[in-house]
């Protein structure tokens, strides 16, 4: 884990209000796993909090994150240009640990697709991914080439303007030809994960399912107890340190 200076190599809009920011790290940080995230300064000292963003691609010292413009921080980030310096703390969190699995169903929606892409990239040489990916509408569709590294890819949009009309969770459960998987990985808006948990139960699916959660953060390293989620055993877990990836049965959604 290091807090270091990164040099902006690119910052392009890849879909409506979605940017891919590529950073060159000035120090080695070792391997970065899909599902891990970075805590990025947005380059404006009046914002004291870093923004947590899932790692989307790594290539040596180059690292890309994709962000959706939401509020003041991500708005400010759109102004970052080649050569600018940003501080970045990484790698954070546990990431998806998939050693035991070979055939993996991927369910992703919205900005949740980026950490899933990193995971697919990391393992696609020796594992099979069957991906179900939901976008808001056609203008939000992006990174199909990366998602295409899956063995199969089903794309949905809420309004049907691209792919199947619907969402990633319903596409997964409605796919009558779905290949047998030994695990599911998922990331997306809280409501998507909630529905996924309910549907898994209703359909009696009992293969392991790992979900990556989002919560507002302070330190990003497990020290401040700002980012907790509720576990089913009644205890709290820190999304930044104990997660962001959890077994879906271990957390309240």
């Amino acid at each position: 884990m290091k807090d270091l200076t990164a040099i902006v190599k690119g910052n392009e809009e890849i879909a409506e209000k979605i940017y891919m920011l590529t950073l060159e790290l000035t120090e080695d940080v070792g391997a970065v796993r899909g599902g891990q995230f970075v805590n990025l300064s947005v380059g404006d000292g009046s914002m004291l909090l870093r923004r947590p963003l899932g790692v989307c691609k790594t290539d040596g010292r180059l690292l890309s994150v994709c962000y959706q413009v939401k509020g003041r921080g991500t708005e400010r980030l759109t102004a970052a240009k080649e050569g600018d310096e940003l501080k970045v703390l990484l790698p954070l969190g546990n990431g998806f640990l998939l050693d035991k699995y070979k055939n993996i169903a991927v369910i992703g929606g919205g900005v949740g697709i980026f950490p899933l892409i990193a995971t697919i990239r990391e393992h696609c040489a020796d594992k099979n991914f069957y991906s179900y990916i939901g976008f808001r509408n056609k203008s939000a569709v992006c990174l199909l080439d990366e998602l295409g590294k899956s063995k199969s890819l089903t794309v949905t949009t809420d309004d049907g303007s691209y792919g199947i009309k619907g969402n990633a969770v319903s596409a997964y459960f409605e796919d009558v030809n779905k290949p047998a998987a030994d695990a599911i990985i998922a990331c997306g808006p809280p409501v998507m994960l909630k529905v996924l948990k309910r549907e898994l139960k209703e359909h009696g699916v009992n293969i392991p399912c790992f979900v990556s959660l989002e919560e507002r953060m302070g330190c990003g390293v497990g020290a401040c107890l700002v980012c907790v989620c509720k576990k089913t055993d009644g205890e709290n877990a820190r999304v930044c340190k104990d997660g962001p990836v959890f077994d879906i049965n271990e957390v309240e959604l």
């Binding site: 909090l49 953060m217 107890l225």
Partner: protein
């Protein structure tokens, strides 16, 4: 290289830069980023007698140059700290400040008794704005500050007592004096200011707790003034904090009279904030030909 060593209430610190309670856990996480033995001390997450789960999320929000938090004193309880965290901090050779809170006078007495002789200081949090158990009820009026300080002090026969003052009060001067009269060995300030941020789309406060404690760069001028006033009011040492982001900020608090400083929110903005602040402080002293950090304490002169 200036000499950064300081001594407060007989406790020697290798430098005056202490991690502020609640922002640094019990030190383990930041130790994965740098060796925390370089800092002067660690004030632990605020502890209560029994474990607490804290408030609902979101627990954090942001404003210009500030953040707000409402963690609600989530902590594993004082016994857990004594069993699992104390020895780690001891091995690191940092001053160990056990930050504690309670909802009754008895709570404060009991928790101080549990830590007597174990920590280097017990820091009495009577100023957490986010939960009843945070002792805010004791931290507003001089009479109750005096009373809770007495109770704590009577349990602390071996460990110096640091009383942490709230800025959300009528008179810092009166409250600092009340702590001194109650038997505090030193005081620390400021805790967070109460505040609120509204999400315009939802027409609801961002924090689940509605209100939270404001900290970070934006509170520094208010904190510096309060630390100065407290230093004028009492003879016991004062530990200053509130918005310290740089070595110069730390020097400013010490000129105002603080013997040491605590750094909180800066750790979130920059995970290496504390070692950076220490080296910036050193550079400032060197650039001004000052041999020991002790030479700057309380040297500000009013116009």
């Amino acid at each position: 290289m200036a000499d950064l060593k300081i001594e407060i209430c007989g406790v020697k610190l290798k430098n005056p830069v202490i991690a502020a309670s609640g922002t640094f856990g019990f030190g383990r996480e930041y130790n994965e980023i740098y060796d925390i033995s370089v800092i002067g001390g660690v004030s632990s997450k605020g502890m209560t007698l029994k474990p607490r789960l804290g408030n609902a999320v979101p627990r954090i929000a942001e404003g210009y140059g500030v953040i707000l938090n409402a963690v609600g004193l989530q902590n594993p309880g004082v016994e857990h700290f004594i069993k699992h965290d104390l020895s780690f901090l001891r091995e690191k050779g940092v001053a160990v400040i056990a930050n504690v809170a309670g909802s009754t006078l008895d709570d404060y007495g009991e928790i101080c008794a549990a830590l007597n002789g174990l920590a280097d200081f017990v820091e009495l949090n009577i100023s957490c704005p986010n939960v009843k158990a945070g002792g805010m009820a004791f931290g507003i009026k001089p009479e109750s500050i005096n009373e809770v300080t007495r109770v704590a002090k009577s349990s602390l026969t071996k460990t110096p007592l640091m009383v942490k003052l709230s800025p959300n009060v009528e008179s810092i001067t009166a409250n600092a004096r009340a702590a001194e009269k109650g038997g505090a060995d030193c005081i620390s300030l400021v805790n967070t200011f109460t505040g609120m941020v509204i999400d315009l789309e939802k027409r609801k406060p961002v924090l689940a707790n509605n209100t939270g404690g404001v900290s970070g760069a934006g509170i520094k001028p208010i904190a510096v003034k309060m630390v100065y006033e407290a230093c004028q009011a009492v003879d016991i040492p004062v530990v200053g904090m509130g918005g310290i982001m740089s070595g110069e900020d730390a020097v400013e608090f010490m000129m105002a009279g603080a013997k040491a400083v605590q750094v909180g929110t800066a750790n979130f903005a920059d995970a290496n904030a504390m070692p950076r602040i220490i080296s910036e402080m050193n550079a400032w002293l060197d650039n001004h030909g000052i041999k020991s950090v002790n030479e700057i304490i309380g040297t500000v002169r009013m116009n």
